[in-house]
């Protein structure tokens, strides 16, 4: 392995990492919001919306992100919906992640005993107050391991962004391998940068999982 090459390539990978993180972070926030809204719709059994959310979940959980991105990026402009590659990445990741987050939140909501809801209602709280102050905080803490697993999954999924010409880590690696044939160095940096991005989250996930698995407060 050539040390000079590594030093030369390093800034390229650093920029790529920031791009990946930027899109990844925005996509995850979007997924989180979709997850909250979608799971609330299912939780309250909102008539028509419930069906729409159900169809959305099935559509996005049963197709690859790559195909979703191709559709958003290459197909939608043909019907007049033009968006940039970055927006496409955020949107694709958010929609895919949203479908998973809804399921995660939903099972968290189901894990909170019904009598907690009744207890809040008997204090005169509205449905929304009950959800917001009583059920959601418990559901989220139950969902934390699932949420972190989703975050890792989504950050890994960003590796397909290169197909819509976003200069992320994969794009950079592929480019350098193709142009300069410095395969070993390029792959080495690729692995290192993914480790830097995902290992800390994975470790935090393991610690947090042990702490909050049973929704334990007050330790």
């Amino acid at each position: 392995m050539d040390k000079d090459i590594l030093i030369e390539y390093f800034p390229l990978y650093k920029d790529a990492l920031f791009l990946t993180l930027k899109i990844g972070w925005q996509g995850i926030i979007l997924a989180f919001v979709i997850g909250l809204i979608g799971s609330a719709i299912i939780h309250f059994k909102t008539p028509v919306l419930k069906r729409i959310v159900g169809i959305y979940i099935e559509l996005f959980r049963n197709t690859p992100l790559l195909v979703q991105l191709f559709f958003i990026y290459f197909a939608l402009p043909k019907v007049g919906i033009q968006i940039t590659a970055q927006t496409c990445g955020v949107l694709g990741l958010g929609l895919l992640g949203g479908a998973y987050m809804i399921e995660t939140f939903r099972s968290g909501l189901e894990a909170v005993p019904v009598i907690q809801t009744e207890s809040a209602l008997s204090l005169g709280m509205s449905d929304f107050q009950t959800l917001w102050h009583v059920i959601l905080p418990q559901a989220i803490s139950i969902s934390v391991p699932g949420i972190l697993a989703n975050v890792i999954f989504l950050l890994k999924e960003t590796s397909v962004f290169s197909t819509i010409s976003l200069m992320d880590l994969m794009f950079t690696a592929k480019d350098l391998i193709g142009m300069y044939a410095k395969t070993i160095e390029s792959l080495f940096l690729l692995v290192v940068f993914y480790l830097v991005m995902l290992l800390p989250i994975s470790i935090i996930g393991a610690i947090v999982e042990r702490r909050v698995r049973y929704g334990q407060f007050g330790d």
């Binding site: 690859p64 979703q68 191709f70 590796s159 395969t183 692995v191 993914y194």
Partner: protein, 224 residues
């Protein structure tokens, strides 16, 4: 529909080619799933043994799979091995290796989880009857875990099919590549073909994956 490019698919053998492209990734998925299930049973069993050395190795293995995107693994196997060892691994073989490596870890973890859910006393009563470790696993433990494992294995198939779409990146001509070729070939006569063709690819994946995941959910509910 003409202006949305669906018509392109009915020209010549275009639709057939698209299906053939899809079959390429399904074929890779199925081979990898079968290998993953077999190896996963072994790995899962190994994970429940109390050998610290084995445990450490398997933990690192699981962590690699958990953190590294499959695409990175594909690149390492496809580009890296040629460079380091001088092997000429074909793209298809690379894909099968990587997806089996990934699937085995996933399956192994599922197997470990379901073995762990069997009460220790089941092992002990089998040993008390004079069964050895292998016999205990094959006659007593696996049959009890099978109902839990079948839906999870079926789920692995859909995840595998979705993930194999990545082989596009190492030059395998699968459904997305065929789609791009069709769009490219018809760019003058049908400039909007991208919409119709990619919409159809989207639906094709859904048509393949949806029934399989419904089946998994159905079995899971029925056998719980």
């Amino acid at each position: 529909m003409a202006n949305l490019g669906i018509d392109v698919l009915f020209k010549g053998t275009n639709f057939l080619r698209l299906l053939q492209g899809l079959w390429v990734s399904i074929e890779i998925s199925l081979i990898a799933v079968v290998l993953s299930i077999i190896l996963g049973l072994v790995v899962g069993m190994l994970m429940t043994l109390n050998n610290p050395f084995l445990k450490a190795i398997l933990k690192v293995y699981l962590e690699i799979v958990r953190i590294m995107p499959q695409m990175v693994l594909l690149f390492i196997v496809y580009f890296g091995t040629t460079r380091v060892f001088g092997w000429d691994v074909s793209a298809e073989a690379s894909a099968i290796i990587v997806f089996t490596f990934w699937g085995t870890a996933e399956m192994g973890d599922l197997v470990r989880g379901s073995i762990k859910s069997i009460p220790v006393i089941q092992f002990e009563s089998a040993w008390a009857l004079g069964l050895n470790k292998m016999q205990t696993y094959f006659y007593i433990i696996f049959p009890q875990t099978i109902r839990r494992l079948i839906p999870l294995s079926i789920n692995l198939i859909t995840r595998m099919i979705k993930t194999t779409s990545l082989v596009l990146m190492i030059g395998i001509v699968e459904v997305l590549k065929v789609a791009q070729q069709i769009i490219e070939a018809n760019r003058n006569s049908s400039p909007n073909a991208a919409f119709g063709v990619f919409a159809v690819v989207f639906l094709l994946y859904f048509i393949v994956c949806w029934p399989i995941s419904r089946l998994a959910t159905y079995l899971e509910k029925r056998w719980e």
